[in-house]
Amino acid sequence: MSNPSEALIRIVDLHKSYYDGESELPVLRGIDLEIKTSELLAVVGASGVGKSTLLHIMGTLDRPTTGRVLYGDQDIFTFPDTELARFRNKEIGFVFQFHHLLPEFNALENVAMAALITTPNNKAIYEEAASLLEYVGLAERLSHYPGQLSGGERQRVAIARALINKPKIVLADEPTGNLDRRSSEAVHELLWDLSTKSGQTFVIVTHNSELAEQVDRVVQLVDGKVF
């Protein structure tokens, strides 16, 4: 499935430390990682080892202390804020442990939101959002608000939302960490199906061993480094 020449993301000597007053707390200590196009990659590791931090930096939500993240040839952290936001909008989809849906907007609007940022009020966007919701099995729930959906349903809306702008890469941070077994399985199946059909790159941070077994490649994070 993966072609070594098509490195989508190259992470070079990435360090991230948190500062608490005067003491420095290093979390990532020199990560080197290449992720190829269409790869389904799982990042595993103990709690607090920096998996989420790595994912946030890959997703441009956080900045590294030192080191670079290259998408193709572009060093994304040289971008100004507006451009970075635009890049995030177009190229990256996120799924989190908690659904993070906007409570004031219904399922359809939540899914369409990322596309509306750049092209407001576009009918085609809502049609696309509706078909994505249909794909995740929520065709009947378009006008329901997050508060009216179950946990599994919310997470499926969140997955649909990550896909609206057809991003090159989807970053998922323990997407089933908060769900019961049955809902988890449904979400897993959805992710497999997507990764095989769409050719998009998936990076999934997980504790779930079942999930880790089914991916193309597993990367283990120990003591701030990749193994």
Partner: protein, 487 residues
């Protein structure tokens, strides 16, 4: 709809479905509206009082009074008046004999009151102070019918002429039209013993009443004809005052100098002096000025409070929406997008609040100055109708989502509140409050200064907009990761 408007308008709306907008939006809009309405109303009342008093003064009082320093008589006033009336911006000038006089109680030797007496030429005086418009009864000082009748009653005594008395003064003295007043004009040497001074008394018959609603005049003034006055004081062709009316009262200080020059008093006649209406009423108007400055400071504080209200509302919203801000940032909203969302929210609150406040303030001003017959205060209870309907709709799950119902209830609220205001807000009677003598007006006067209304609107918009800056900036600078993890 732009993306920022799409999100901001949703945040302004209610999360519960039984009302149009969220309670927090209502409270902030109400805060701004109350601030703006109060400012408009209070300034309208203050302006009303000041202008009311001014108009009263200016319609009754000469703009400039010319006299010799010690109020002594001077001759040649006709020529002087001609010269004064030739000055630019002078409307008219009127010769006046101005003095104080004692009123004797009938059948007794005691002086009952001391009053001001103004000897005037009615035709000339009309041009300067609008004298005859305030007189009820006759302005004919030599009214022969009344004088003859009085002469019959007071047989053997001469009647010098007619007098027009201030209305309140007449009430206090207990005299009616046709009654005779015995006035102590001056003291004269006794023909028997020149070292003795004896009172020179004169009888006047009351021919009319002067009712200007100006306490100072109605309470202590009497008017007689200038010819009579000149005879009383043995000053034929002399007066001691010239009263002048100008085209614009504000010009009084400048024109006063020209009037002094035009009068051209010789050194022997004495030192000329002028007194403008502003000097005459200086104490009152400086008190009003002080009051206004104090009010403007208080108003500025009210608006400031309202703006703090907006800022705190927005900061609360930002805090409440921290997680959403994080989400929006992960979806690719830029700092600029986030900032705009919250600034739109604040601006909408500011705009609606200011507009509502202006409408409310102007409506109350209108209601306070409208004397139409109102329905009973009890009709304020009609407000119960929208309240009940609101409760009913809130309790009816099925109706929550119908936009039409919400709109109907909003309209009903508007009608209800307007009607309640119409019943409850009435002109405030100063007579009932016992203040009519102090302010010399029947009801609380209202004067809307449109320039000030526009200024307050702009100020309110500006302050509301400024109040949005910090919270919006705060929201825009939330770190996406921290915002997402915010609980």
């Amino acid at each position: 709809m732009k993306f920022e408007w799409f999100v901001a308008s949703r945040y302004l709306r209610s999360r519960r479905k039984q009302s149009f907008i969220s309670i927090i939006s209502i409270i902030s809009i109400g805060g701004v509206a109350l601030g703006v309405a109060t400012v408009i109303l209070v300034i309208a009342v203050l302006d009303g009082v000041e202008h009311g008093l001014r108009d009263r003064f200016l319609s009754n009082e000469a703009h400039v009074a010319l006299h010799i320093f010690d109020h002594s008589f001077f001759k040649g006033y006709q020529e002087r008046i001609e010269r004064i009336e030739a000055i630019d911006n002078v409307v008219a000038a009127s010769p006046v004999i101005f003095a104080q006089i004692g009123v004797f109680r009938e059948y007794s030797n005691t002086i009952q009151d001391v009053i001001y007496i103004k000897g005037i030429d009615p035709a000339q005086e009309d041009k300067v102070t609008g004298f005859s418009t305030y007189v009820t009864g006759s302005t004919d000082f030599q009214n022969s019918e009344l004088i003859e009748k009085a002469a019959l009653i007071k047989e053997g005594q001469t009647i010098t002429g007619g007098i027009i008395l201030g209305g309140r003064l007449a009430t206090r003295l207990g005299v009616m039209k046709g009654d005779v007043l015995r006035l102590l004009v001056k003291l004269v040497e006794s023909p028997i013993d020149p070292s003795l001074l004896i009172p020179d008394l004169a009888n006047f018959v009351v021919v009319g009443f002067y009712e200007s609603e100006m306490e100072a005049y109605d309470n202590s003034f009497g008017f007689i004809h200038i010819d009579t006055a000149q005879k009383l004081y043995n000053q034929e062709n002399h007066v001691n005052f010239i009263f002048v009316r100008l085209t614009d009262a504000e010009l009084a200080p400048q024109i006063a100098t020209k009037i002094r020059d035009a009068a051209d008093f010789s050194v022997l006649e004495g030192m000329p002096n002028t007194r403008t209406w502003m000097e005459a009423q200086a104490a009152l108007f400086s008190a009003l000025q002080l009051e206004k400055i104090a009010t403007v400071i208080i108003e500025a504080l009210i608006i400031l409070v309202a703006s703090f209200n907006i800022a705190s509302t927005l900061i609360m919203t930002v805090m409440e929406k921290t997680k959403d801000v994080g989400t929006l940032r992960t979806l690719g909203a830029s700092r600029g997008n986030i900032m705009k969302i919250f600034m739109i929210q604040g601006s909408v609150i500011g705009t609606f609040g200011t507009m509502l406040g202006t409408a409310l303030g102007l409506s109350i001003c209108w209601l306070l100055s409208n004397n139409a017959e109102r329905p009973s205060y009890w009709y304020v209870l009609a407000l119960i109708v929208p309240i009940l309907l609101q409760i009913f709709i809130a309790s009816q799950h099925a109706m929550r989502r119908r936009g039409g119902w919400k709109f109907a209830v909003a309209v009903l609220w508007l009608i209800g509140i307007s009607f309640a205001l119409y019943c409850a807000v009435r002109p405030i009677s100063l007579v009932d409050l016992g203040l009519s003598q102090i302010y010399q007006m029947h009801q609380l006067p209202i004067k809307i200064n449109w320039l000030f209304v526009i200024f307050i609107n702009l100020l309110s918009f500006a302050i509301c907009w400024l109040a949005t800056l910090y919270p919006a900036w705060q929201a825009a600078n939330l770190k996406p990761v921290e915002a997402l993890q915010h609980e």
